[in-house]
């Protein structure tokens, strides 16, 4: 939005119409000089005045536009933008996402579990403000993808890069929680939360889930555990990252609900079961509404001064007017 630092200067624009009248429309504004035709070797005027008139019109326009731009520049134009600035810290969150092959199970039609989880996480991130959010993935091993950050754009781009089975064939739930806890260690946020999404049983990694939950609880982090996927036999389709081949088959669904409940209870969090996309969305909405802190917000208006562009344009137009009059029209005062 264009704003002015000192709009009172715009009053000077009222000088332009009388200026135009005085300079171009007033009677007796110029002098008449009579001279004999023999100055032109008795041939009279042969040149067309059309080009001259166009040039004059351009010069007049350039001059008055230049004047107007000078006045606008005096008023201090700037491009303003409003920004919500948070004055206190939000909640540090780590999303721990299962990347094991079973996440490619296709019981969340039309997408598989992983794509559905990714889409729901994406929506959840977009709905948060001022909460640093990080991302941990786990399969056979666990890895940090993004540390807790407010740079949601970066977070979303990294989320889009995740692939099923990139961290091996296995489900290291305990390691996933432990990695998330490790990266919340230096957090100074008033609240810390880990959101774990998994569809399987812990079968890899050196740290069992309940031990990891105790570590997280020791750091003051609550764990919300979401068990996703249906029970029973489910069709599966995934691409093997090494060979590039599409693998198809079926897996027996199900996760160790007791272990997941223990993890949630030990850390003071909650356990949720999401058997379909609608439930998963509802679970994230519930977490979204549970995890809120008081927010102190200030609206900050940032203005970028743009007077230099107006001054530059004015100088160019006024100098062009001067030079055209003197060089081409041979005008003298």
């Amino acid at each position: 939005m264009l704003t002015f630092e000192a709009p009172l200067y715009l009053v000077l624009c009222f000088l332009i119409p009388p200026g135009i009248w005085l300079r171009h429309l007033r009677r007796g504004r110029g002098n008449l000089i009579g001279f004999p035709f023999d100055l032109w070797r008795q041939r009279g005027f042969s040149a067309s005045l059309r080009a001259l008139r166009i040039l004059l019109l351009f010069c007049h326009s350039a001059f008055w536009t230049g004047c107007a731009l000078l006045i606008v520049a005096l008023a201090g134009p700037g491009l303003s933008s409003r920004e919500r600035v948070f004055l206190n810290k939000g909640i540090d969150m780590m999303i721990v996402l299962d990347e094991s092959p079973s996440m490619a199970a296709q019981d969340f039609q039309p997408k598989d579990r992983f794509e559905t989880a990714r889409e729901t996480i994406r929506r959840f991130i977009r709905g948060r403000e001022n909460d640093p959010i990080g991302l941990v993935g786990f399969g056979y091993e666990a890895a940090l993808h993004v540390p807790p950050t407010l740079d949601y754009q970066y977070l979303l781009s990294e989320l889009d890069k995740l692939q099923v089975m990139a961290l091996g064939d296995g489900t290291a739930i305990g390691m996933g929680i432990a990695v998330a806890a490790l990266h919340l260690k230096s957090s100074t946020a008033p609240e810390k939360v880990i959101i774990l999404l998994t569809d399987g049983k812990n079968n890899a990694g050196e740290i069992p889930p309940d031990t990891a939950a105790r570590i997280a609880a020791g750091l003051g982090a609550r764990i919300y555990v979401i068990g996703i996927g249906g029970r029973g036999e489910v069709p599966i389709e995934l691409r093997d990252l090494k060979s590039g081949k599409i693998l198809r088959g079926s897996i027996e669904g199900g996760f160790d609900e007791e272990v997941l409940k223990t993890v949630a209870e030990k850390s003071g969090g909650s356990y949720f079961f999401a058997g379909n996309q609608g439930t998963l969305n509802a679970v994230f909405s519930a977490i979204d509404s549970l995890e809120t802190v008081e927010r102190r917000v200030r609206i900050q208006v940032t203005t970028r001064a743009v007077h230099a562009w107006f001054i530059m344009a004015a100088i160019i137009l006024l100098a062009a007017d001067f030079l055209l009059r003197v060089f081409f029209l041979r005008e003298v005062p």
Binding site: P147, D151, L155, S186, F322, R330
Partner: protein, 329 residues
């Protein structure tokens, strides 16, 4: 006194054609007037008035140009308090990972020295957030703005030229990425720490430094490497060779780094300074505190309006000198 837009002074070159054209036209018109008067010069009074009109019109117009150009250059002097309600500190570390940073004139290598400085800063500024922009010919956001010490330390313990694919060195890209690393909506003070030997093979970094200054983000440039020059030892042990097969010699471009720091309102530090990390930490902490105390900060006062107003009146005077009829007494 400081010029915010010194490139604007190039517009003063317009004075050359303006003065030349005015002079040429005056002389031409003088000859023409003589011809109109039948070969003899007009009366002395007429000549004087004609000369005065041309002279005043031209002088006023030239003065208008000078003042407008000074306004365009955006002169500022003095400071004025501006309200500011900020707390905390966010630092974007722009780390040069180009191959020239493998030179061994700041043992063990320039890159390792830069990483040690970064790690020292991270440890010294507890409670602050850091981001890392690694740059060579291009730049990547290696670590987003975070409080997580583990991620930052892990990055600096393993940083090297493979972090970025693009060959060459572009400090400009590094600064641009560092500027983009500050997420919106935070009330923290913001600063960039540039860790580089300043050797830039790509475009100039003046534009990003000016952009940083406009956003109130100072760049604290830490120059790493000697001025005497050093060869670059590649990881395999061979020396990096140029097109002629001769070893490439690299040296710190201190002037470039100083210019970036000056334009952005920051400061230059040499890696050789004793107690560099504690000095830099104190400087950053001091920057955050001085800018947040009492709810205001001192900002430079831009004086362009005074010059522009003077220019506007001189333009009016130039038009009046030309338009008003100068009557005989």
């Amino acid at each position: 006194m400081k010029l915010e837009n010194p490139l604007g002074l190039f517009f003063l070159l317009l004075l050359v054609p303006v003065v030349y054209a005015a002079l040429r036209n005056y002389l031409g018109a003088k000859t023409f007037r003589r011809r109109l008067a039948g070969g003899e010069g007009p009366e002395d009074g007429d000549s004087g008035r004609f000369f005065a009109r041309v002279f005043l019109h031209t002088v006023f117009f030239c003065a208008f140009l000078v003042f407008s150009v000074l306004a365009l250059a955006d002169i500022s002097w003095g400071t004025a308090p501006q309200t500011e309600d900020r707390s905390g500190l966010e630092v974007a570390l722009a780390l040069d990972v180009s191959r020239s940073m493998l030179a061994e004139d700041s043992p063990p290598t320039r890159l390792k020295t830069a990483c040690d400085i970064a790690l020292g800063l991270i440890q010294g500024l507890g409670g602050s957030r850091f981001a890392v922009a690694a740059f060579k010919g291009g730049a990547v956001l290696a670590v987003p703005m975070t409080e997580d010490r583990e991620t930052l330390e892990a990055f600096f313990l393993d940083a090297g030229p493979p972090a970025v694919n693009a060959p060459g060195t572009s400090v400009e890209s590094g600064l641009e990425t560092a500027l983009a690393a500050f997420p919106p909506g935070t009330a923290s003070h913001r600063a960039i720490v540039l860790l580089s030997d300043g050797e830039s093979l790509e475009n100039s970094s003046g534009e990003s430094a000016r952009k940083a200054a406009a956003l109130g983000i100072p760049v604290f440039a830490v120059g790493i490497g000697g001025a005497g020059g050093s060869v670059i030892r590649l990881p395999g042990g061979n020396l990096l060779a140029g097109p002629g097969g001769r070893p490439v010699v690299t040296r710190q471009n201190q002037e470039a780094l100083e210019a970036i720091a000056r334009v952005s309102g920051g400061e230059y530090f040499s890696f050789r300074e004793p107690g560099l990390i504690s000095r830099l930490t104190d400087r950053l902490r001091g920057f955050a505190e001085s800018h947040g105390k009492m709810g205001f900060r001192l900002a430079p006062v831009h004086r362009y309006r005074s010059f522009l107003l003077a220019g506007f009146f001189l333009l009016c005077a130039s038009i009046l000198a030309r338009s008003v009829k100068w009557k005989k007494k």
